[in-house]
Subunit: 391 residues, 4 copies
Amino acid sequence: MTIEASSTATARRRLRLGMVGGGRGAFIGAVHRIAARLDDRYELVAGALSSDPERALASADDLLIAPDRAYADFADMARMEAARPDCIDVVAIVTPNHLHFPAARAFLAAGIHVICDKPMTRTVAEAEALADLVEKSGLVFVLTHNYTAYPMVRQAKSMVADGVLGKLRLVQVEYPQDWLTTAVEATGSKQAEWRVDPARSGAGGSLGDIGSHAFNLAEYISGLKVETLAADLECFVPGRTLDDNANILMRFAGGAKGMLWCSQVAPGNANALKIRLYGEKGGLEWQQESPNTLLHTPFGEPPRLITRSGPGANAAAAHATRVPSGHPEGYLEGFAQVYADAAELISARLDKRAPDPAALGVPTVHDGVRGVRFIDAAVRSGRANAGWTIV
Amino acid sequence: MTIEASSTATARRRLRLGMVGGGRGAFIGAVHRIAARLDDRYELVAGALSSDPERALASADDLLIAPDRAYADFADMARMEAARPDCIDVVAIVTPNHLHFPAARAFLAAGIHVICDKPMTRTVAEAEALADLVEKSGLVFVLTHNYTAYPMVRQAKSMVADGVLGKLRLVQVEYPQDWLTTAVEATGSKQAEWRVDPARSGAGGSLGDIGSHAFNLAEYISGLKVETLAADLECFVPGRTLDDNANILMRFAGGAKGMLWCSQVAPGNANALKIRLYGEKGGLEWQQESPNTLLHTPFGEPPRLITRSGPGANAAAAHATRVPSGHPEGYLEGFAQVYADAAELISARLDKRAPDPAALGVPTVHDGVRGVRFIDAAVRSGRANAGWTIV
Amino acid sequence: MTIEASSTATARRRLRLGMVGGGRGAFIGAVHRIAARLDDRYELVAGALSSDPERALASADDLLIAPDRAYADFADMARMEAARPDCIDVVAIVTPNHLHFPAARAFLAAGIHVICDKPMTRTVAEAEALADLVEKSGLVFVLTHNYTAYPMVRQAKSMVADGVLGKLRLVQVEYPQDWLTTAVEATGSKQAEWRVDPARSGAGGSLGDIGSHAFNLAEYISGLKVETLAADLECFVPGRTLDDNANILMRFAGGAKGMLWCSQVAPGNANALKIRLYGEKGGLEWQQESPNTLLHTPFGEPPRLITRSGPGANAAAAHATRVPSGHPEGYLEGFAQVYADAAELISARLDKRAPDPAALGVPTVHDGVRGVRFIDAAVRSGRANAGWTIV
Amino acid sequence: MTIEASSTATARRRLRLGMVGGGRGAFIGAVHRIAARLDDRYELVAGALSSDPERALASADDLLIAPDRAYADFADMARMEAARPDCIDVVAIVTPNHLHFPAARAFLAAGIHVICDKPMTRTVAEAEALADLVEKSGLVFVLTHNYTAYPMVRQAKSMVADGVLGKLRLVQVEYPQDWLTTAVEATGSKQAEWRVDPARSGAGGSLGDIGSHAFNLAEYISGLKVETLAADLECFVPGRTLDDNANILMRFAGGAKGMLWCSQVAPGNANALKIRLYGEKGGLEWQQESPNTLLHTPFGEPPRLITRSGPGANAAAAHATRVPSGHPEGYLEGFAQVYADAAELISARLDKRAPDPAALGVPTVHDGVRGVRFIDAAVRSGRANAGWTIV
């Protein structure tokens, strides 16, 4: 792949990036910034990094953002940037979930492309409204379902689409973590605090934080839609109101079936997202913590270990990788790929040319709608004693 | 552990073993015989190895069983053995499922101890009737849920009972295979043929063949009972009437939850039984295909690899192992442990002494009843669109 | 494979087995007995289980051996058994190393087949003398290099012979353990005591105990002979006179090269024998602690996981296995395979027919000579500051 | 850790970086640039990216380097940059090996800090001369032995230094690859071409390219110096003059011993650097292809899996990581850490303050001298039939 700025045939410049959220003390904001820098197609020039004006300014200063482009309010930022000749090309929204919608709306209205964290919005209504806004605006909207951008995930999606597994029968996905095994939200963890708060997280706990990734990955690789699900939600740690574990059955359009497990109370699991798909002709298995390998199990033949950039790696994987086989890539490179693909889409718009088809694998507002529908359906199913619920 | 005959403090002799089923061409019968031989506490002296008289005789001859103890009918065998001074001490029943009940009944009636394959019976009514018969007889009845006898499974059960994990929250168990991915039953596989036939298998397909093992393992290690389940059954291969895949949600007494997946159509999985348990204080993970290791994940500490006979292995594991750490034991040794424990229980009866408490971990008729209830509940739930059903 | 007695087309009976060594408290004797029982082709009927008469008798009694066939002296046993009409067919010699030679000599002289533990003798002179005796006797002599009998090792040997790897370039073998990390021989471990004693072990410490296995495996699978080696021996634990670690370079006939590492002071390694072979067209990797898998890496293609009895397993593997893929076999089954093959060779002699060719993979007196030469060469090289020494 | 520019307490600016080598078609240059960008402490402003003037200019343009700072000659670049008020702070030298020395000399003479690829020079004389120049200059010289900067490698070094393993006995290191299994240098691979050419690579083939990494890692983690080695070099692929495989014995000061294997003809190995260290009290094992885990095997206790940012990770690891446990980091993050630490050292010089002690783990010119000595000693040993040679 091309991993540096000039690769945009377009403008001989980096894209100007703004950021909403991600001030001092935040985690995911820094990840977005590394991701944006890694392939050198962005420069960060503006930010509404915190709603606290002082913190916003200090955070901007940390990042060498000029003081006049350090905003305390995203609405101001959208309006004032739009008025500048060197207006940002794109904004990255990395706030807690409840602000995704209003912020995205503001920047789309200002004609600015958007890269947004997931889950996309708190409610299905907001998600659908946002999809409408994006459609009408003609702007690029990229959702950072970063796990879709690992080379071996791209490879898996491509293999399924090519029929390598035959008709799919089963999609088993799981995403266990352990960091909420005890009530850390009561001991000052900011990360935990907002995630267990319905006002900021929405109706899903583990569902929204990680279940939505698992769901997205299942639909992304399989190319199938989940029609109905039955979700048994649980909140194991006393004092919480949102689920910290969800056991879910899924039925896909076309007859495939699946299970989804997400948990934040499974000791020994750091970030153990794993997916397995089985069809009439073979299977695939991928684990996020060992992302450079994809196990392919053609029925009746020895299992094969396909490694990133190694023998058997396909074009979809090659598009999303930087270094040779045996040189492990990880979480930040996957995240960076979302930014690289977003850069390609945005540059194509700026240059009025068709985007690189390989960049089209990046998740969009429609994936965002699906994710919010998933959370909504799972919460409703959970309240109905795990009754089957349409997604 | 003691791995040879004389270890029975009892009689200075091996136990006399008979077998029902397991003639030429059978698979599991040979496994039972190896298991019985391995620790040298049995000698095989009689058999109704086939219902076809000629095949029964030839099969007995293969095994060096004397012709006068080669029976074509298990009822004859029970009656005639009971009349001999050197009557068998115990019979192993290794037929297809539908014969387990009548055969067990016949030998119990003749005062002969029973080792029986699983699932125990075809119906809950038969299972409960059998439990009654066993209770009244005062005889030993051991069910070969062989996976419970792996040293690391014994260790896991013991650790859970000792509270090492704290109160349990989650039990995730899965048992995927791939050998029924295509319609092999149509191409002359005897093993496949009876397993997909409700008349011989009972109401469960993958449920009975392997799901019952997974369910048993979950209850065995956790020490908890599944109260209700919701089972989404599927028969993916055209022409079958029994499930070849089951996705199941479980709720345990006391509040723990779980998922159970069994499948015989998951390419790349040979016999991939795996269980994970998570409690307030830590987790455990065990995989049948790498049975000599148990992963213990105390919350907030580095995960530990406990190996059979290695540092951290406990007395329950030590009871069930033969060779030092690093010398892998496997399926046959696990199976043999069931026989070794059965020998200990039977010898204790013969000697009128209390059995070795460590041998009491062996599955009994009550586990058999639970297993049949599980299949029955899952089948009923499946017919009710995966509605919650009491086990 | 055939896993029961009658499979010897020959005599309608089990082979009569005697044992030298292996009395109460011994480890490897019990392993040999399980191995002999597992496939039901032997019955243990005589023994000189200890040189202490009382212990010999008690040990025999433990094993249900008749008192008149419980000997205190192997020479008596050879002589007296030879005089019986029901003389043993074969003797298993499982003593400390220094007794292998005199015991084997005595039984060969009595016309009795021999199964002998490794390393075969203490000196090269003894080894060569023994090879002569075997040749002249026309009797079967099997050396229990048990690791050669794992199905995946048989498969590897067969693949190399078939040219699957092309011309071999590299053979890397290692066998680390940790049980002698501290001076356990000073704390009453009988196993440790004789192994660190040159009088009973011979000139090699880790070299003899495990290095000889590693060396044998390298020659066995590769089909190549080591011409010269350079051995850097070390005795890390104070008070020992024999090596507890050996780092060795090897040069094979034909130009391949290799490294051999054996250690008994590598914490965390239980019995971690591992071998890798690389040729012009591909590689193979096998680990004793996960013996059911063989990694095949054809150059330029994705690595393949060949599993015992699974897709890609060949006839050589099938000959040495009992249960389907996914049902792990281990150390005892490998050991049992040596006994099964020995039974086939001996039965063929008794029946005056050609042995099953598949049984010819079992190690012989010639492998024993190579092993003793290896120890001798490595010790001499070690004394010469790791100078190149002919094996 | 601090992962962004402002973290240099120093100058409120990024360090100005120049690069020698790394033009179009190069591999490692792009890696250095990503590494420099990742933590946002550098901006690339000048380059002598190719010795071909046209290619140099085009390559600079690709990277948005101003034309007046695109040089075709590193000597010109050093001189002209030194004359500018916005002179580069530091240069990265990423050429083939033979140019490292003259380029480094030129920039040191110009008062510019240096980051240099490995192996440092072609000869020991050059290496020592360079060490002198660095000493006299008082400038920062960082060698990109990038594998030392993985968090789990830093952790391992720190654990060994803290005595967690006790006195070290064994250091086993290996670095197999497979990309030179066939004569790719004859088929147009630029990467292969210069590596097999003594004029550009120096006297070592696999020794210089990867053996030097393995050697460095062994000394880096162990804290011990190799005193002597015995190297059996081989050139398996016809037509080559440099080694493509090396089997090496090592003896460390203080009595520890080790083996080093490097190979570029081992099919199935992409970049399989692995190190194991064993002491009186325990062992450590790390593999570059799964870099986020460190296996710690305290003698007599269950092995522990220490994961990057997980329980048991220490301060040395924390210094070198960016994201939480379970979010894999890889090769680029390791490389970036070298740049981050170099930035810290250089900023400290610019600010006239003491550097962050944690940054002092970065490899220096002295490691470079050791690496060249290693290659030299191994080549001499190889010529002397693997005789013991002082490093």
